[in-house]
Point group: C2
Chain length 153, copies 2
């Protein structure tokens, strides 16, 4: 709200900013193409399965899953319905809380995850990590953390 003048981006800043914008769209697109081709999963499917697979008994309350994924519950609900229809996850009701449900990995879900994971790791390395030194990694990590702090609600 303050009316202090903010200087326009100079050439270098603009270049980096526009590159960032492009990477933000091209990188997920490339990773998504790759994972879909190799496993029929989307990146969103994959993320969901990863978090579930790391949970005790490979199952989670839906809200807990939403929190860990930083997804809105509505979005997750829609997505789980579709994944459930494809047999990747299953829902079980929760005895301790009549409102709640659990989502669990199915056999098929775990199989899909295991078949997709190595290729995805390879893609993340090949596109993103390869060629980064320890120093650069640390620097990038710090930068991302700073942005995250500022952008978070």
């Amino acid at each position: 709200m303050s009316e202090t003048e903010v200087p326009w981006l100079n050439e270098r800043e603009m270049q980096v900013w526009r590159r960032w914008l492009r990477v933000q769209t091209e990188l997920p697109a490339a990773l998504g193409r790759d994972i879909a081709r190799h496993s029929g999963l989307s990146l969103q499917d994959f993320e969901t399965l990863v978090v579930l697979s790391e949970a005790p008994d490979e199952r989670l309350r839906i809200s807990a899953l939403a929190d860990q994924m930083h997804w809105e519950r509505s979005r997750l609900s829609h997505h789980l319905r579709r994944m459930s229809a494809r047999g990747l996850v299953s829902k079980e009701d929760c005895k301790e809380d009549g409102r709640g449900s659990f989502v669990a990995l199915t056999e098929q879900g775990r199989a899909a995850l295991e078949s997709a994971a190595p290729g995805h790791v390879r893609a993340v390395r090949g596109l993103f990590l390869d060629g980064m030194s320890e120093d650069e990694l640390a620097l990038l990590g710090g930068f991302l953390e700073r942005v995250l702090q500022r952008a978070s609600v």
Copy 2:
């Protein structure tokens, strides 16, 4: 396709990768909230208007606009229909090529852009650029360029 073993991400790599994924969603979300609150535009509207405003006569062939934005023509066509309905752009037909059309900035479109731009620049600085040294900027630029090369079709 080669079956060479690819090592899993170590702790540091995983941390940076997951941060990247979060920034990739949170940063556009924060910028989008900001620009929508101040001007009623979406980030996509804004990008469209920026490119148009930089064109000679503030108008462009639709394919040229799509190319500059790295958007599919179909996506752009849908988006322009909505923006046109809101009076932000207008379409004119092209005399040299009976298939083609021009899109042009309207008065209202330029006004919306000019009212949104300073706040957006401030947001990009505040969330993304502030606190970055020249060296870091150069490093990030190099990194992004590298990723872009690898991820591009």
